[in-house]
């Protein structure tokens, strides 16, 4: 009993186990539906485009961004949540709870797996100008924005909202996510870091 209590609540303070995180994300989706909207983060990129006034030249962005301000507010809240959790909740300087196989593989690629959330060999401001830093950040970011809108949604819209509403198109999208993800993981990333 005590062991279960510890596992659920004491350890969970430092590191949220998958079942709590998954349940929490489902409740976030429920809260957004209850408030009269839906869970889909990538739509905000379209809203940001619309805010630049590009709608005058492209119908796709000819929307009143104020109708999407709820989603921007949600987005700002998630940034605040990220700030609070990272600086005041997650144990400072802790190594991630990664699997042994991942740690070994990263070490063999010259990346320190104990350094926190992001590989600074790629993403630190000094290394961002390296070929790997540039491609993974800029080409990767571009593909996320382009692909999410083409597919009509990202992980929140398709994998969570769509699959849990039993939408076949979302299953196709998630299969696509994995085809692309595996190509990047097994071909592009090893090539860039090799």
């Amino acid at each position: 009993m005590e062991q279960i209590w510890n596992q659920l609540f004491v350890e969970a303070q430092a590191y949220l186990p998958w079942y709590w995180a998954g349940a929490g994300i489902a409740l976030v989706m429920l809260a957004l539906l209850w408030l009269g909207e839906s869970f889909g983060v990538s739509s905000n990129f379209r809203t940001i485009c619309a805010m630049t006034g590009v709608g005058r030249r492209c119908d796709f962005f000819d929307i009143d961004w104020r109708h999407q301000s709820w989603n921007l507010s949600f987005l700002l809240g998630s940034m605040a949540g990220g700030f609070i959790a990272y600086h005041f909740m997650y144990p400072e300087g802790a190594a991630l709870n990664l699997s042994e196989a991942t740690r070994t593989l990263l070490a063999s690629m010259g990346i320190d797996p104990q350094q926190g959330f992001y590989p600074m060999e790629i993403f630190s401001l000094e290394n961002l100008g390296s070929p790997a830093g540039l491609v993974l950040t800029i080409v990767g970011g571009f593909l996320v924005g382009f692909g999410a809108r083409w597919a009509g949604g990202c992980t929140s819209g398709h994998a969570i909202s769509g699959l849990s509403n039993l939408q076949l198109p979302s299953l196709v999208a998630v299969i696509g996510f994995f085809i692309g993800g595996l190509i990047s993981t097994y071909l592009i990333i090893p090539f860039l870091l090799g």
């Binding site: 993403f123 996320v144 597919a151 992980t155 198109p169 993800g181």
Partner: protein, 154 residues
């Protein structure tokens, strides 16, 4: 030909400040969960695509299973929205090309950046500045899609 994207309806709603605060608070919960479960980490996405750990599959799988139950309650009319009305979740357009091709493009980027759109913003909030550049690139990608939309298969 015009392709219907996720409709952005004009329900004549410019949300009131009180509503915006509600969405902000839900956002805080989302951000905290995503940090505390390490989901925003590049390493976790790397690990997921190598099938080295159950963690990410557990997170997404639990959300889907509980989400199926939530959608079932919504269809039954047991869960209603804040105004007491039935919630209608519109189905996705029954096609496959845009989902497959768009999905592959998204997946290529997801593994490279180690972040889907939510974690990009949450990570920026946590203070990782490479996300500012990445978000800029994603906005450009979305803009490119908007201009090329009529030429892409859907």
């Amino acid at each position: 030909m015009k392709v219907a994207d996720k409709p952005i309806e004009n329900k004549n709603k410019k949300p009131a400040l009180r509503q915006l605060i509600s969405f902000f608070v839900v956002g805080i919960a989302f951000g905290v969960i995503m940090v505390q479960a390490e989901v925003i980490s590049w390493f976790r996405i790397f690990e997921m695509f190598h099938f080295h750990a159950f963690h990410m599959y557990g997170v997404i799988g639990t959300a889907i299973v509980l989400g199926i139950f939530i959608h079932w309650l919504i269809r039954k009319g047991i869960i209603r929205n804040v105004r007491g009305e039935r919630i209608v979740v519109p189905p996705k357009a029954p096609t496959y090309k845009r989902y497959l091709f768009g999905g592959i493009f998204f997946g290529l980027g997801w593994a490279m950046t180690g972040a889907c759109p939510g974690p990009m913003f949450i990570g920026l909030g946590a203070g990782f500045l490479h996300f500012a550049l990445m978000i800029g690139a994603a906005v450009l990608g979305t803009m490119a899609y908007g201009f090329l939309r009529d030429k892409l298969p859907h």
